[in-house]
Amino acid sequence: MSTAHDIQRPDDQFGLVGDNWPVESESAYAAAERQATTASNTAQAQAQEATDAATKTDSDMKGKTAESVSNGYRHSASQLHEQSVHYNTVSAWMADARGVVAGAKRRISTLVRVGTGEIREALTNEVSGTAVTPSSADLITKYRTDIDQVAAKLGVDLDAIGHSLAGAPGASRTPSYTSVSTAPTPEHADPHASMASYTGSSGAPVPEPHQLPEMPRASAPSGTESPNAPVTPSAPTTPTRAVNPTLAGLIAGSGPSGTPASPSTSAKPASTPASAPGGQQQGHQAPERHQNAKSPVLPRVPSLPLPDLPAAAADIATAVSSSVGHQLATTAPSTPGSSLPASTGITPGTSGTPPVLPAPPGGLAPIGSLPTPPPVVQPAAPAVQGAPPAPNSGAQTPSPASPPSAPRGPVADMAWLQRTYGLAPGLDLPKPENHIAPMLFIADMAESEAQLHRALATLRHAFDDAGWGQPMTVARIKRGLETRTVYATSDGLSIWPQGVQLPSGVIPLDEMPGTPVAPELCGSLMVTDKLTSLIPRGWEVEGVLSSVSGEEGSQSTEQYQALVSAGELLDCKVSRGREGVTDDEALSTFARASIGSTGVGELDVESARIRASRWVGTQPRGYLDTLARYYLSDAAESMSRGNWGEAVYSSEKYLSVQQSEKQAA
């Protein structure tokens, strides 16, 4: 998230760059790209759940009700699937944005370096009395102009991406930059081979240009249908920009129509928080949301049939409610905020201040860059808006018109995308929100349930901190008088990465004695299924809680944040591995593991691979191998740190994965 890894502005003693250095952050776009990918995976996982539920319903029930329930599931599944595709497309455009931003920075940097050299040389000559052509002054002018052009091109490219994201008719579907995974993917089985293609190795096949699917028309942008009519003050203005909505502008302003509004909002929070025009805006945004709220029809469906349903019903209910859930969930985020002023993101791009990104309050979106609170236009408008479709012309409110763009800022805002497209699945939108819940939601829960919430929040926090955030589930299980809290993760079955300490009493599922061996579930994103299907014999599940938003029995991001900020986390003191392991023991276990291995990669590379291999549907080939490599590199790393306990832990994990791999083969 931090912009620390962005390309930095070069030394520029002749001031060639001026204010042309891009304000956007490629890392921020990369973060948005990852979020979109995660959202896509989640939607896909949920689509699968809904499909499974439909199948289950078909096989377990007969009659009209069953049919309608199963149709409901199928409908939901196809919607979720579509959302997944859209999110994937969004992710690809984010990668393109990341590329064009970094590309502009590289090109500007190189112009500065080469230009500075030439200018310096010309100057040296001039100082010693030799006239040169071009003169240093000419060169300075030339390079400044060149850099202007690169910066202008970036503006154009971002606009184009904005149009593509908004589903504008005729917008490009071929990004200039493509993100290539360093882990094997269905398209590129061998990452080294694809590297060869992208670096122009002789003999390697040239990468094939690919087209992205179209995005749905963003509700706001076009101005055409400006459904927002009711309240939207600004509608009119924006269209103006239609000409040139930069990605920034787009995102910032929810596309044209929203644009104007957003600036104002964003400007506001800064200074006059409360006064925000809450009412209006809310109205404005509403339409978009409603759409999704409506669509999922199924929500309640499941409950009807419940009585008749066989045991399967429970699962199904979970599946459905989860699919539905998000939709609801989506809405939620924005609303809660409402109590607060503007920051709540009523305006699309401005989304409330979230968090994640380092941007200042007003904005996430590229818009964010704060400083220039653009012209706050909003007041005027209401009247106009009636006449929406008519392009901008009439409306033009004051100033905003020409300064074409919304201020650009470093970041892209998922919240906006989510709202605009109504894509919502369990996107984990970090929502730090300022609203501190007056009373913590766990206050009126049974202690055991509250404890499960604390345990999950604690794990999420520990994993996030260690860079291993992922969908996970915890369960309280019971056998006679004994109870345990176990967890399952997406990676492996219940991964326990280096740097994560567990609260005492919370154990990885695969460390429960008697947990069935299930290599085929390793890496599955369906964490709840994974966990509930692998409870050791004799144990009963008392409660399950997952981080997959939308699932029944899930802990929302807001709840998670609330627990974190209320300090309701459990102490984490348990480290991996046994105490008192000696170097001899570690050495021999590690040696046993590494004999016959194909070698060890670096831990961060192997970690990245395993994280990139989470799946839904079918386990990718080679998953277990990737997992084994990860464990071995983890073991090697622990060895080199002299942490014998952890080395043994990881070596044993490696051996056990290897063994199940062999059995599977």
Binding site: A4, H5, D6, I7, Q8, P10, R98, G99, A102, G103, A104, R106, R107, I108, S109, T110, L111, R113, V114, D146, V150, K153, P175, S176, Y177, S179, V180, S181, T182, A183, H192, A193, M195, S197, Y198, T199, G200, S201, S202, A204, V206, P207, E208, P209, H210, D584, L587, S594, S597, T598, G599, V600, E602, V605, A608, R609, R611, A612, A636, M639
Partner: protein
Amino acid sequence: MIKELAALVLTVGVGAGAVGCGQHSTITAVPSRATETSSSSSAHQMVDVSAVWATEPLPPCTDYLGTDLTVPPGLSMPDHASVAKILAGVKSPGSIEWVRTKLGWLDKALSETRADMVSYNGTPGGDSQLQDFKNYVEHVRIELAQGQDIDSPLDLTYPEACQ
């Protein structure tokens, strides 16, 4: 004990070199290293940079950027071979892992620079970028030859970092 351990870890590390590289010269390091386990002070095996470069090492990131767009005819672009030319003959005293990582970053920069050349083809600066990238490769070459990272203003433009 510790020494043996280090040797063991090292051996395994070198073995890993074999994984990505087909049957290249680096593998020969395995037996010789293994037999001299405890005399770590003996002459260090030099890494053949070109052999590692030929394996298309990956950057230690989950992804990198490239372009699928067709290269316009007549556009000069850096490519794998032009980099190989600059790196030819370099033997690095650095560890094989370090060399591989360094070259992984270089691969990433190459892929991205090529994408820039296509994407920004319509703007000025193509020549500058070509030259600048070449300078960067030369810089990496020196780092490799010396077996250590060396600060340079080029680091600002070609950060060894994932996004």
